[in-house]
């Protein structure tokens, strides 16, 4: 471990060294992937401070559970799952504190959004990358936690409906419904942002 070139080492090598208690190797993994883990937490929580805290908590859990990492997925995928679960726990806790239930939340998917007219023009076409990022970020912030979570798990984590249902403890039908609503709402929000220029 002493003569290991941490900067050049592959993730798998760093994971192996970390398992043996090498915190320098683990720090290298954190440095490499902290932005991705933080970005995922932020996307779900919409709060910078909370996202930082949860991402750091995820790294601590990652260290404690390294023996459970079998290498079936990439290390970042594994770490992302950890931070997502922490975010979901936090969101549920927050809902309980508000005396609400994320599962019992009224499905907005049956409302106006399902029937609204289709956005014919691609609202994100010809946008600069930075501008697009800002707009999508704003639009994501306008979704409810449940709808945003489904969107994040599907579009960014590429999870199948059944896995999202398992993670969110709801039915596949609810997942499909929330995802549909979330997408349509996003299209509408992006259109609004474009036309309001």
């Amino acid at each position: 471990m002493a003569d290991m070139d941490y900067t050049a080492a592959q993730d798998a090598e760093l994971v192996q060294a970390s398992r043996q208690g090498d915190m320098v190797a683990f720090e290298q993994l954190v440095a490499r992937h902290r932005d991705k883990i933080y970005a995922r937490a932020y996307m779900m929580m919409r709060n910078e401070e909370e996202a930082i805290d949860l991402s750091q908590e995820a790294w601590v859990k990652g260290w404690q559970r390294l023996v459970q990492f079998q290498g079936e997925s990439s290390f970042t995928t594994w770490m992302t799952r950890i931070v997502i679960n922490l975010c979901l726990d936090q969101l549920r806790k927050r809902k309980r504190q508000r005396a609400e239930s994320i599962e019992a939340m009224e499905e907005e998917s049956g409302g106006v959004e399902r029937q609204m007219p289709v956005v014919m023009v691609n609202p994100t076409e010809q946008m600069e990358r930075a501008e697009l990022r800002v707009r999508i970020d704003e639009a994501l912030g306008k979704l409810s936690e449940a709808h945003r979570t489904v969107l994040v798990l599907h579009e960014f984590e590429h999870m199948e409906y059944k896995n999202i249902a398992k993670t969110m403890k709801c039915s596949i039908g609810t997942v499909m419904s929330r995802l549909f609503y979330a997408r349509r709402k996003m299209a509408s929000l992006l259109q609004d942002l474009k036309t309001s220029e």
């Binding site: 750091q56 601590v60 014919m120 697009l132 409906y161 349509r184």
Partner: protein, 165 residues
């Protein structure tokens, strides 16, 4: 458009349909302009979201961000060690408590026996290894048990004989 058709269209986009179902949706799309437009909208939204990936960065410095993680890891390690120590003590306690209780009962019985012998009803060894006496002070009666192996053997033999008959 009905809800189930909307869901089917979305499932088609997400590759969640079987080959047969996907073929049916393709046939439907060829005839339905509204469905085609909805599919375009959903596809555009998905593409826009995918381009949003990995743009955000932690604003804290590498050292500062790591320092909190390290402190927590080191703190947790100390807790684990302390828990292990407590667990060992717990195990010792689990063994010692019943053993101590049994010892206390034994001592109490040993202390109580000679006292009852002198005050009221009691058993006493009559000097013979196989003879026991019981004395009731209230009624002034004394019972003596004589237990000789030869008699026991004989009794058992007699019992066996009886059964044989």
């Amino acid at each position: 458009m009905k809800e189930d058709l909307q869901m089917k269209l979305q499932a088609y986009l997400d590759g969640e349909l079987s080959a047969g179902e996907a073929k049916a949706v393709l046939g439907w799309l060829a005839q339905d302009a509204v469905a085609r437009n909805l599919l375009v909208e959903l596809t555009n939204t998905r593409a826009a979201l995918l381009s949003h990936e990995s743009e955000m960065k932690v604003s804290d410095s590498r050292e500062f961000y790591w320092s909190k993680i390290r402190r927590q890891i080191e703190g947790e390690d100390k807790i684990v060690i302390a828990t292990k120590r407590i667990s060992l003590m717990d195990r010792i306690h689990r063994l010692l408590v019943p053993a101590g209780a049994a010892a206390a009962v034994f001592v109490a019985v040993m202390l109580a026996l000679p006292r009852t012998n002198g005050v009221g009803d009691g058993f006493a060894d009559a000097g013979d290894a196989v003879a026991f006496t019981y004395h009731n002070y209230d009624s002034g009666t004394t019972l003596v048990w004589l237990d000789y192996p030869a008699e026991n053997d004989l009794s058992e033999m007699e019992l066996d004989d009886t059964l044989d008959l």
